[in-house]
């Protein structure tokens, strides 16, 4: 009887809590959502309208609870630069947020420090907290801090980001890699230098791969030049990245390297080289590409066929030569591609098909 009564009591208590407390909490959540939207609107109008009196407006914003304000300014900080960012910093300082970030960055719980890391871009330059958070013991905090300071300009922190590429945590390495991949002219020089050191074997192989990935993504021709040195590197990942890099930009000196990569031992590298020839329009390599139609690896054959179709008339001539190839796949692929690429319209259509 007692057990039944206890069970009944707990069931009803949870049911009531679910209905009443849940509804109350849900209402509270909606009200907070509304307050947040209002605060966001208010803060964004202050920051974006240069004519607003910052002192008076900041006093208004100071009435918004600090955690809510932190959330709003954090979102705004991610989307603002230049003068708007400067005004945002002033607002944060007047509203007492800067002090909060300083306090949060010294808290014992990592997620509090991660909150501070989120807001790091609101601190004045040279703030001690920035270094503290960038070298925090928790990887999440370090990753967040890197992501946050990357919005302040990559060139300023490029050395720090390059150093973070050898961090023990994959999250930190990802954050640093991402930051560098959004880099401008200022950071290209540093990356070229790092590539040079990597070529000399001064960097860890994994860090070299990360830097090469960044260099392959950035469109600067100086990087392509530096990457050519890796075309004969022992690590196939690096050789593949050289091909990726050459396919992504018009780089005249790339033909010789691509020709070497096309006969690489690794199928992945050959496939990427074939793809790069098509996307980079290296028409002089069309005959070499034709030979790849009979490659032992399926992916290379597929990429070679697609690339030849992309090369236009030069590619079609090569494909025609392979119509009677003894290799049934090469002839079949040539027939298939020529069937598809019988006119200019279908060539452009085929380009869409290449992933």
């Amino acid at each position: 009887m007692t057990l039944f009564a206890i069970v009944q009591f707990i069931f009803f208590a949870t049911a009531v809590a679910f209905c009443v407390v849940g509804a109350w909490a849900s209402g509270k959540r909606l009200r907070r959502q509304k307050r947040r939207a209002l605060a966001y609107h208010h803060a964004s109008s202050i920051i974006l309208d240069a004519g607003t009196d910052l002192d008076a407006a900041s006093r208004d914003l100071a009435r918004v609870p600090i955690p809510l304000l932190a959330e709003v300014l954090q979102q705004l900080a991610a989307d603002t630069t230049g003068e708007a960012r400067r005004r945002l910093r002033v607002v944060a300082q007047h509203a007492g947020l800067t002090r909060r970030i300083e306090r949060l960055s010294r808290r014992r719980t990592w997620h509090r420090r991660a909150q501070a890391a989120h807001l790091l871009m609101l601190l004045p330059s040279g703030a001690l907290e920035r270094d503290l958070l960038l070298r925090d013991s928790h990887p999440m905090v370090r990753a967040r801090a890197i992501e946050s300071v990357s919005t302040l300009g990559i060139a300023t922190f490029v050395d720090l980001f390059l150093e973070a590429l050898s961090d023990e945590s994959p999250a930190v390495r990802s954050a640093a890699q991402h930051a560098l991949s959004r880099g401008d002219i200022g950071c290209v020089t540093a990356i070229v230098e790092a590539l040079h050191r990597a070529e000399l074997g001064e960097l860890d192989p994994e860090v070299t791969v990360l830097i090469t990935e960044i260099a392959a993504e950035l469109p600067d021709p100086r990087l392509a030049e530096s990457l050519l040195g890796f075309a004969s590197h022992d690590d196939p990942r690096l050789r593949r990245l050289v091909a990726v890099s050459l396919g992504g930009r018009a780089f005249a000196n790339g033909s010789a390297s691509l020709a070497t990569l096309l006969i690489d031992d690794e199928a992945d590298v050959r496939a990427e080289a074939a793809k790069a020839i098509g996307s980079g329009q290296f028409t002089d390599l069309a005959p070499s590409l034709g030979r790849m139609l009979g490659d032992e690896h399926w992916q290379v054959r597929r990429e070679a066929g697609s690339a030849l179709a992309q090369l236009g008339p030069a590619g079609r001539i090569v494909l025609r030569c392979h119509l009677d190839d003894r290799d049934s796949f090469a002839s079949d692929m040539a027939r298939h591609m020529l069937g598809e690429s019988s006119g200019l319209a279908s060539i452009s259509r085929l380009r869409l098909l290449v992933p």
Partner: protein, 475 residues
């Protein structure tokens, strides 16, 4: 003599129910801890800008489809609307007998391309291979029917991403779900599989303050399944996540490391519970090779799916799930209670045997005993109260889970739906659960007979406003 026998039977039944409830209460507690930790962790994860970068790992979304002409358009639209940058989508039409292929060709402007791929995992033949002219990330393969596992293996053969995401063709996911799941792999290279929560969309979806939110279904069986799914995901996934014994990543939405899945020989053809089987096999393979495989669950990324509403379809589904469970437990019985397999072998698998596999049998025996006892007038009011109390504990666990889910995810707003949900929770426990026990017993018979039919679910579609990319009514 008879009375003593009934006493023993009823006490035995009560003890099993109490033990189950106690185990579940423990897992709920673990789920609360995990929920707190994972929410704090996911708030600071790099799933925003970094996961949107082209340097993020390439993910191939695998979509096996069999007779999905009604839902495939919307679910693929949802997948292609994902904000993840480095994405590829491979749809495998597993010999559909309806218009799935025609719908795909028409909707995504597919053009047939050379049928060439590397057959790492053996599958039925791929008859035609298409690429979309509207979206070059989309690849569609039409293959001979070979079942879901075979379709997934074919998609794995075609995939080029280092990570693969398995999504059912009748499932839609929120645009940022993938980033959140992939972040787990970036954070920890030891993770081989990550799953997200799956919720039901039978009542339709609307835009809530925190993104898409389901309307509570009006259809009673669908409503019962909402309660059931919530409980299953909070206990079965989050709780086990905290305890390190996660054995299931839902086939409807999960991300895997492709090389590890291929190393473990892909999905097992002919297995009813291919999603659970793959996870158990990955874990087993990891332990046996000295590289324990981490399987994580993130409650935040949400996938929406449609549950069967007809009793006949539900019966087939539950029957199939139960056969799947028995199949997996039987195939991996050597892992049970072996210290070598740590939490998976010592706690999780014995729990699945005791609570998931044996419970229907025990409960059915208990029901029959109780009925016979009542007919013979052998059951005392004290015994009835004891049984009611033990079932009340199960109901209490359901209520706690619903409350927890509400506090954590805030999916509900109005008080009327809440009252309805309490009523449905009671109904689910008193009517739906005994029904599932009956269906599962049918599954036991089918399993003993070696039957492997899947049954058919009639798709109704998600409704006009359900696609994440489409305009939804404003709150």
């Amino acid at each position: 003599m008879i009375s003593t026998g009934f006493d023993i039977a009823i006490i035995g039944l009560g003890a099993v129910v109490l033990l189950t409830a106690a185990l579940q209460a423990g897992i709920v507690l673990a789920a609360v801890i995990d929920l707190r930790r994972s929410r704090s962790r996911s708030r600071h994860r790099l799933w925003g800008r970094v996961m949107n970068s082209p340097l993020a790992p390439k993910v191939t979304v695998l979509v096996p489809a069999f007779n999905e002409e009604v839902t495939i358009r919307e679910s693929l639209g949802g997948i292609l609307a994902l904000t993840y940058q480095n994405l590829e989508v491979v749809v495998v039409n597993d010999g559909s007998t309806d218009e799935t292929e025609a719908v795909l060709i028409d909707e995504f402007d597919l053009v047939e391309v050379h049928n060439i791929y590397q057959s790492v995992l053996p599958t039925e033949d791929i008859v035609r291979l298409y690429r979309s002219r509207l979206d070059p990330r989309l690849v569609v393969a039409h293959k001979l029917n070979g079942g879901k596992a075979d379709a997934l293996n074919a998609a794995l053969n075609l995939a080029t991403g280092s990570l693969v995401c398995a999504i059912d063709a009748d499932t839609i996911i929120t645009p940022d779900s993938l980033q959140k799941l992939v972040a787990a792999f970036v954070d920890d290279p030891g993770v081989v599989a990550a799953g997200g929560s799956v919720r039901l969309t039978n009542g339709g979806l609307e835009r809530g303050p925190h993104g898409l939110r389901p309307s509570f279904p009006k259809q009673v069986w669908a409503a019962c399944q909402v309660v059931e799914y919530t409980r299953a995901f909070l206990i079965g996934r989050l709780g086990w996540n905290q305890l390190g014994g996660n054995l299931i990543v839902s086939g409807a939405f999960g991300v895997f490391r492709r090389d590890k899945v291929i190393e473990a020989a892909g999905y097992l053809k002919g297995c009813m519970g291919e999603d659970m089987e793959l996870i158990v096999r990955l874990r087993r393979y990891g332990y046996e090779n000295g590289t324990p495989a981490k399987v994580v669950f993130n409650a935040d990324p949400i996938a929406w799916t449609e549950a069967p509403e007809r009793l006949s379809e539900l019966r087939q589904q539950r029957n199939r799930w139960y056969r799947g469970l028995l199949d997996v437990l039987s195939r991996h019985r050597r892992m049970i209670l072996r210290p070598k397999y740590r939490t998976a072998g010592l706690i999780a698998l014995p729990y699945f045997v005791l609570v998931e596999a044996l419970a229907p049998v025990v409960e059915a025996v208990g029901f029959v005993t109780l009925l016979v006892g009542l007919v013979l007038g052998q059951v005392t009011s004290g015994q009835l109260l004891f049984i009611a109390s033990t079932y009340g504990i199960g109901l209490m666990v359901s209520m706690v889970v619903l409350l927890l889910d509400d506090v954590a995810f805030g999916m509900l707003t109005d008080i009327r739906t809440r009252f309805r949900m309490v009523a449905i929770a009671i109904l689910e426990h008193v009517v739906f659960r005994p029904l599932t026990i009956w269906w599962r017993l049918g599954g036991l018979v089918f399993y003993a007979q070696g039957r492997s039919d899947w049954g058919v679910q009639v798709r109704r579609g998600f409704g006009p406003n359900s696609m994440p990319g489409s305009p939804l009514p404003k709150l």
